[in-house]
Symmetry: C2
Subunit: 435 residues, 2 copies
């Protein structure tokens, strides 16, 4: 049987999982690749660190040069996170003739055009299934399986850490800080979970998906994003009362006047597939003009789900499919003009959930409704607290408003005006509502 | 730009949809294929029949020979249903050097080994994404995206017609015969819907998936199957009362002693993804040992969803990916021994729902429970009718029993013994219950 020599650079959680698939399940990868995928080298920083895996003698090395100098190694799973030295390592691997498989979404979101252009110049390929949604093969599905469609919209729960935290807060009434600690203990959240909970991670993944699905060339940092930091348990409770769940939703929506992109905590109707996505799961609903809606659900992170995606890419690269796809699709090409322009966020429209703390006296609601009306925003429903909690008179009292469809611009301005009202205390919580 | 000349054989619903994608959206297919997919010929039986599509001059023909003789045509979407002449046409197209894309699952389930072996001899490829689950790209997902996994199980709602009928019966209390008529009017059911409602269609699709996922070589007719014909509204009602929905489930489950395959109406717990699949939708839950559970949901039939799958295959074939996959995977090879044996259906185990009509007197339940106990089957719960309906005394009365886990063999034998009891009237309804 033919053989493809493979190296892994970075033997963290995912790298160890990939090594396990290659070493323990060679028959399986051989059957799907039509050749043996032989793990020849695994590059680590610290040779002494225990990794819970028996490596054959001679595989483990702390010298990247060992891989670069080995002409027999033709495919490398580059599994180092962050931007540098990941970028430099990927470039030198490609320059020494290796095809790349990576899970590093931050690197692609930040340096995609540079890396992909260089790969094309060198006749190399980059596969990145594991960069978005872990075990859900969304990259292949958008790039190949749904290729006869114009994708109309894409809505996803792309950050498992955030979804775990929100699910625990929602279902167990847990406190944000406590759940973050629990997520860290379970390995769902990093020691510093900022990129997960502030929406950065989801925005980087959305930028990649928006490029594949719509040909948008978008800097992830331009995507309007709100994370789940500071999400108030009160909002989860009110959402439930109204028949919704709150999810950190990444949205790409193609309209007449351009592509709308956003990441934000959103009220999703109960009983719809996205509302039922729990814990560390990811899910993506794609709507194509021919295929209609297709829904994907699976584990968005974790050792073996991500390793499953990396190993599938290694197989595709060894078989030769990756090269054909890579050459054909010209992803992240500097020469290709974007096929779609980003829509002015203010012109996007939808329904909104507003939660305010207001003075407990008649006329307050009238004043707020007047501001909304001024911006052309109608009220769909109101939950107004009775104003007394047992025997204690409350002031201010909470007020929740669900609007009918309004533009983001109008909703933003109206919210600012409402916050300026004397009868309104503190900031207004404003969340999007999915139909 | 390079060009690949394509022909369509059979311009029915799906064929017309494919023609539409090729003719109206050439930019899209060109972008994903890196070359123009040029529809050169479309072969029909009746040139006069209106098809609701403007064909460029010279494309429509009633001569298959036009395609066979045209060496420029390298890829053919063979969209004729049934076994003959579809089989003969496919063979002669391959012999004249064309790669094939097909949606004909019955042909593959029946003649897969012959067709695939011949294709390999001739250096041709057969792509068949559209043969299973319409718009859900389950073939590519199992064959490529999840290729690093040992698939553990596969549970699917694979027949949209049956699911539409069951949903309408369940949600609107509609009568079986009425819903079948409605499904026919909506185009969800054939004039003769036998293959859909007796489980044949689902079994053929399951046989294909079981081959791809497990390497099982299975005659679809060997798969134990029950359709939804004769499904009683009472069972839908009782299932709901117990917290379940009834779905026609196709199951492939890998156990120590072999692969279990079955198609049958099954009680699926409410709130789980498969229970929420409504109307003509299909869904598949795949569990892989690395990736964990991945769930797919989409339209399982219909013109454009199926055309989306066919066109994606045309693109993959034009790019060259199909050939690489086809050469590597050796699907339906006569030379390849099956990698897994089928399990004796009697040894598979699960919980069961039993509905009986029993004599309205004390001791009846005891007699039934005694039979079940004799076969080692414990009762989990019982719904026993009170025996009077307003002022009318009922006899026989309905009795519903949910068992704990039992083997299929024990459940089958116990059911036969229960039917033989004097206090039991008529046949016992026995349905599987999914955990």
């Amino acid at each position: 049987m033919e053989m493809t020599n493979v190296a892994i650079v970075g033997l963290g959680t995912v790298g160890t999982g990939v090594a396990r698939l290659l070493l323990d399940h060679g028959d399986r990868t051989a059957r799907h690749a039509g050749r043996t995928l032989w793990l020849k080298k695994a590059v680590v920083r610290d040779l002494q660190r225990p990794r819970g895996i028996d490596m054959p003698k001679g595989v483990l090395t702390d010298s990247l040069q060992d891989v670069i100098d080995d002409d027999q190694i033709t495919v490398v799973a580059q599994l180092i996170g962050g931007l540098e030295p990941a970028r430099t390592i990927m470039l030198s691997l490609m320059e020494s003739g290796k095809d790349i498989v990576t899970a590093n979404k931050a690197l692609l979101a930040e340096h995609g055009p540079e890396l992909f252009t260089r790969a094309r110049e060198l006749g190399r390929s980059i596969a990145f299934e594991a960069a978005v949604a872990g075990g859900i093969p969304i990259i292949a599905n958008i790039s190949q399986c749904l290729s006869a469609n114009q994708i109309r919209s894409l809505e996803g729960i792309l950050n498992g850490t955030s979804n775990f935290i929100v699910t625990q807060m929602d279902e167990n009434g847990a406190d944000y800080a406590d759940v973050v600690r629990e997520a860290q203990q379970l390995g769902y959240a990093e020691a510093d979970p900022t990129m997960d909970v502030d929406g950065t991670d989801a925005a980087q993944k959305l930028a990649i998906l928006a490029h594949l699905a719509f040909g948008a060339t978008v800097d992830w940092a331009q995507i309007p994003r709100t994370g789940i930091v500071g999400l108030d348990p009160d909002d989860l409770r009110y959402a439930r009362k109204l028949g919704y769940r709150i999810k950190l939703l990444a949205i790409a929506n193609l309209a007449e006047d351009g592509l709308e992109l956003s990441v934000s905590p959103t009220l999703v109707p109960e009983g719809t597939p996205l509302a039922e996505v729990r814990d560390a799961y990811n899910a993506i609903q794609v709507i194509g003009d021919a295929v209609g809606p297709v829904f994907y659900h699976g584990l968005g992170a974790g050792q073996m789900p991500t390793a499953s995606a990396v190993a599938a890419d290694l197989i595709d690269t060894a078989v030769g499919r990756t090269r054909l796809t890579f050459q054909t699709l010209e992803y992240f090409s500097i020469d290709q003009p974007p096929r779609v322009k980003l829509r002015d966020a203010d012109t996007s429209s939808g329904r909104y959930y507003l939660r305010l703390r207001v003075a407990n006296h008649p006329g307050t609601l009238a004043a707020i409704a007047a501001v909304l009306a001024q911006y052309g925003i109608s009220i769909a429903s109101v939950i107004q607290h009775e104003g007394s909690d047992g025997r204690v008179q409350l002031d201010p009292v909470p007020l929740v408003i669900m609007t009918h469809v309004a533009t983001e611009g109008a909703a933003r301005l109206a919210t600012a005006d409402i916050e300026a009202l004397a009868s309104v205390t503190g900031p207004v919580v404003r969340l999007r509502v999915k139909d």
